[in-house]
Symmetry: C2
Subunit: 418 residues, 2 copies
């Protein structure tokens, strides 16, 4: 039983920023009802091309497991009314549509909170709801550039780089999930809801509070390349593991304090390096950084990245080899921790997903993402008391349901129904 058992979420999110938020709520036990247009969350179309058997794509599966899908055509009067009729049955409404979309659908906070004063109404917008850029379109990379992440990533004398990880999307999703859960605590206590606003640009700045702090508010923080701050802390090249060089044959070693440096010298079996006057204090290690880098790199180049970590990790030196995304599936540590999990999907069969990093009793078992339209009848019947005939009428009029819904047995297609 999940910690958020009982929380009901009307989930009008798409792509990643919003879906990663409701994903977390679902993993913590909330009942997340994903409201999709007849064409589906556009995130269903991201990635690998649709095959003839309509199989679901990894991108969508990664952000929508443990949810239920219903399809409402909110541009039809009856479809929109169905959504409004559902509002009293839910604790949370959350959306990350583009600027102005919710207003065009007439689903503003004032209306929905008048129907259900305890509703928590959360909005994710690229640049927020106010300010000169409020109407600009925004996606992960845009939010990252606007929060400064490019400016501190890459090599000092080369172009700014985008960090690969999607911290603009999932970083905002996490913070929104926290905001919603905190507002739910308040709702439990006071019976009142509230509006929540997250700007993706601002959400990303939460990761920008440690950079080059001597310059805080006065000068731009700099890019550092493979060196990371002072002394010997850096990314070092390693011996290829296979017959060919691999772009990730590197290891990161952290060496900030003299204690770390001594541990490193001992682990490398280079006691004389620890006694070398040039490296005897942090300032010296900064001054002679290039020579020190070369000494350590000579040692790492003679070993594979996994050998280096196996030597330095147990010796107390903070260190990790540069994991590729594939190493996340195969590394013995993550395998032992059952980090990759297999779920059974009604169309795709066995699917590999990363598990929820939160480990506690209040986390529910991982289930597959829902097929489009899989729970429309079930949810509308339960929430609104609609009978089969009425559901059929609404389907025929195009107010609910989707012609793109996969044609498989409905009984097995809802989340967790297998």
């Amino acid at each position: 039983m999940g910690s958020l058992e009982g929380m009901r979420v009307l989930d009008m999110t798409q792509y990643e920023a919003g879906t990663s938020c409701t994903q977390l709520l679902a993993w913590l036990g909330a009942d997340v009802v994903k409201v999709e247009p007849p064409t589906g969350d556009p995130g269903r179309g991201v990635g690998r091309a649709l095959t003839e058997d309509n199989n679901e794509r990894q991108y969508f599966m990664n952000y929508n497991s443990n949810k239920r899908s219903i399809v409402l055509n909110l541009k039809s009067e009856e479809g929109r009314q169905a959504l409004l009729d559902m509002v009293p049955h839910y604790d949370v409404f959350v959306e990350n549509y583009g600027p102005g979309a919710i207003e065009k659908l007439g689903l503003e906070y004032d209306l929905l909170s008048s129907i259900n004063p305890k509703l928590i109404y959360a909005r994710i917008k690229g640049f927020g709801l106010t300010g000169p850029y409020a109407d600009y379109n925004c996606y992960d990379w845009v939010a990252q550039a606007a929060a400064g992440t490019f400016s501190v990533t890459g090599e000092p004398d080369r172009p700014p780089m985008h960090p690969g990880p999607t911290i603009g999307d999932s970083g905002t999703g996490m913070q929104t999930a926290l905001a919603i859960t905190a507002a739910y605590v308040e709702q439990m206590r006071t019976g009142k809801g509230q509006q929540i606003e997250l700007s993706m640009q601002e959400a990303v700045t939460m990761f920008m509070r440690t950079l080059d702090l001597q310059k805080w508010g006065t000068e731009p923080a700099a890019r550092t390349g493979i060196h990371h701050g002072s002394g010997a802390t850096a990314t070092y090249p390693c011996k290829p593991e296979g017959p060919q060089e691999d772009p990730n044959d590197w290891v990161f070693i952290m060496c900030v304090t003299s204690q770390m440096f001594d541990s490193l010298c001992a682990a490398m079996d280079r006691p004389e390096m620890a006694l070398d006057e040039r490296y005897s204090d942090p300032m010296g290690r900064v001054e002679h950084r290039d020579a020190l880098y070369e000494e350590i790199a000579t040692w790492t180049r003679a070993r594979t990245k996994r050998e280096v970590m196996a030597t330095l990790g147990p010796a107390g030196v903070p260190c990790s080899y540069v994991f590729s995304s594939l190493d996340l599936f195969t590394d013995p540590h993550l395998v032992e921790r059952e980090f990759i999990q297999t779920v059974q999907h009604p169309i795709n069969g066995e699917v590999k997903l990363m598990r929820n990093p939160i480990r506690m009793n209040g986390v529910v078992p991982l289930q597959h993402s829902p097929l489009l339209d899989a729970s429309t009848d079930e949810v509308l019947a339960a929430d609104l008391g609609l009978d089969e005939q009425r559901l059929e009428e609404l389907r025929t009029s195009g107010a609910i349901g989707s012609p793109y819904a996969p044609k498989i047995d409905k009984a097995t297609s809802a989340a967790g129904g297998d």
Copy 2:
């Protein structure tokens, strides 16, 4: 009044991963009592050198505002007993000490939950509590390397880069804050606590679920350099704004769909480019990527980064100039949104902090970070009913308090006391 008003947190965190978690809880209204050793959170020593007047550093201020500081010497019997006596008065215990430290102090979950069964006991560890790497030391960059972020950041034919943002620390902190708040919901309902575990390595993988998904689980995702996926989506060079070239004179432009491409051509006043057969569909834009890049770069090089954004943003093209960390303090959009806030600090005077990205009624006003030891007497008197004489005895025996506490009027040094 904050959403988490009433939640009480025994905060044994240090540096960033743990402190960013309790920072979020404090910003949402929890009473966060930061338990420090007599030498203080080592995070107090990160950054700018201590000046004679003992002023507080930006790093510490960025992660510890709105908290109270008490000093307990947990290596003394009386100091440890004071902590155990406090446990019944709190909802949450959270720590991110190095591997084995909490065990050495004898503060394990079994003991604390036997004192207070409703206690939520959260632990952040670099590689988690189990598995072959469980005892390895870990900091932000180590966790990032181990989660694969380096492998997907940088240029394809050059070394892996660390993303500048501290997603290993603050990314884990956010997820822990969510886990704690969800467990608090469960505690409100059932009266029961639970243990929470977060591995920083695993927490960072939450940002790795969108990369190169055709290769998911079968091949490593690649680095892409200044190009970002398909077609014209890339970082482009701009005309310098000042007399000298600046490393951040770049703009990011997103152009994935044909609609975005048409908007881009129109905004650039290059209608003929939209009609160019080579660029007429996404496949063509991929095939002729280099030629297309040069056409767009010729246009961006004739404009400053801010001019490009001012042209493309209103035209609906997803775009942002490459903000430096300093631009976060000065950009008109963020200024209008009052993103940078000024708080009054009892020693440092006016201090600039980034605001909580979560905007809702349940967020409390920003207050300065606490001076070391500022609330020890206040908290122990209120929680344990200790009188002045007993507090003085404990101070004299070294069980509580710190000789490093700044010598200023205590009445003004607690969080929010100015």
